[in-house]
Amino acid sequence: VTRGDQAFLGGRRVNAVRVAWLFLKVGVLNELQYRVNFVVQLFQSLIQVGTGLAVLALVYSHTDELNGWSESELLTVLGIQILLGGIIRAGIQPNMQRLMEDVQEGTLDYALTKPEDAQSSSASGWQGSSARSAYWTRSRSAARSLSAR
């Protein structure tokens, strides 16, 4: 057994973890290219948290208890919902959305032809063709939000 051998690395499972870690690093580097964008996203998150707190304050300005739930209890629920929502939106939703689009656009073929397991690479943030630029990835993110408001 030599260094870099699959058996040395523990087989496919460890390889999938390494690929997921690599995708995470690429994703972070990609996001760090756009520093102003990060600040804007922070601002957007603050708006969303502020809205949730305002709604809660409005409801409890008309009552002391909502079906047995106090304001502090619902505040805790809101906090957990925001936390879990953040994890889902950061790590799960974008990949699932991308997978759906890749099926529609035919670009999933790139993932299927790679030696890595297509399901795990899609779930961990596969970026499609290496030729696809960050710009294109970002453009598709915008296109995703095309849904009418």
Binding site: V36, N37, V40, F43, Q44, I47, Q48, G50, T51, A54, V55, L58, V59, S61, H62, T63, E65, L66, N67, S139, A142, A143, S145, L146, S147, A148, R149
Partner: protein
């Protein structure tokens, strides 16, 4: 041998033809995706149902009403809300962001008509499909929540006009915000701020009389309530004829005002 020129329609007839054609296209296009629409609509209905359950619970725990609004009136408000919301959904500012960034706007500008006409006409046509699909949803909500609703003929008439006014107000608002994307690629932040302001100041979250007085004062100077609260209240509330007709006039003023802002941004 020269070919005789086709008779040219006048500008008014041309634009009417264009709107009629685009609306028909919108209807046919939307009918293709009935299941997708229903899923979208069910997701959208979740929002008012949550509000409705919360405020009905508060009303029941507070002796049957909150600030004079009964549980049945809350049910009526939020069921009509679903129709108004379906009507005032428009091409959002993110669509403009995408359209400008991807270069589709350049293609649209080559057409002899402003792209806004295309957006308004196409989406207006789709509303007929959406309202038809909404009817069974509304029937289910009526059975489940037993709303108190007894509108007069005038209120129904004003409501029918007001929901189209709401559609145009939101179209102009979102299109104007979309124009920001000519200067920045991150219009989404402004759009989020707009959505939050609308949520709190339009009657979308709660009927405006439940808001603190200072919020109502701010809301009076902004267009948001004319796209949500006014159409809903025109059907659900017990308002005077002068108030109803005055509301339509204010809607018209906001549409014209926002159109002017749109033209100069």
């Amino acid at each position: 041998m020269s070919v005789p020129a086709l008779p040219e329609a006048g500008p008014v007839r041309s634009i009417v033809d264009y709107y009629a054609t685009m609306m028909r296209t919108g209807i046919q296009n939307q009918f293709q995706y009935r299941v997708a629409h229903y899923f979208y609509m069910l997701g959208m209905v979740a929002e008012p149902v949550i509000y409705l359950v919360v405020w009905t619970t508060i009303a029941n725990e507070s002796g049957g009403q909150v600030s004079g609004i009964t549980a049945g009136e809350f049910a009526a408000y939020y069921i009509v809300w679903t129709l108004v919301r379906n009507m005032n959904i428009v091409f959002g500012a993110p669509f403009w962001e995408w359209r400008i960034r991807e270069g589709h706007m350049a293609r649209d500008l080559l057409r002899p008509l402003h792209p806004l006409h295309n957006d308004i006409a196409w989406f207006a046509g789709s509303k007929f499909v959406i309202v038809a699909l909404w009817l069974p949803v509304a029937a289910g909500l009526i059975v489940a929540f037993e709303p108190t609703l007894d509108p007069t003929a005038l209120e129904i008439g004003v409501f029918v006009i007001a929901i189209w006014g709401a559609y145009l107000i939101r179209t102009m608002l979102q299109s104007t915000i979309g124009m920001l994307c000519f200067w920045t690629t991150r219009g989404a932040a402004v759009f989020d701020l707009y959505m939050t302001s609308e949520l709190l100041l339009s009657g979308r979250l709660v009927p405006l009389p439940l808001m603190p007085d200072w919020v109502e004062t701010i809301a009076a100077f902004l267009p948001f309530q004319w796209a949500f609260f006014f159409p809903i209240d025109s059907l659900v509330g017990d308002r005077s004829t002068a108030w109803l007709l005055g509301g339509l006039a204010i809607q018209a003023l906001w549409i014209v005002g926002l159109l002017l802002v749109f033209r100069f941004t």
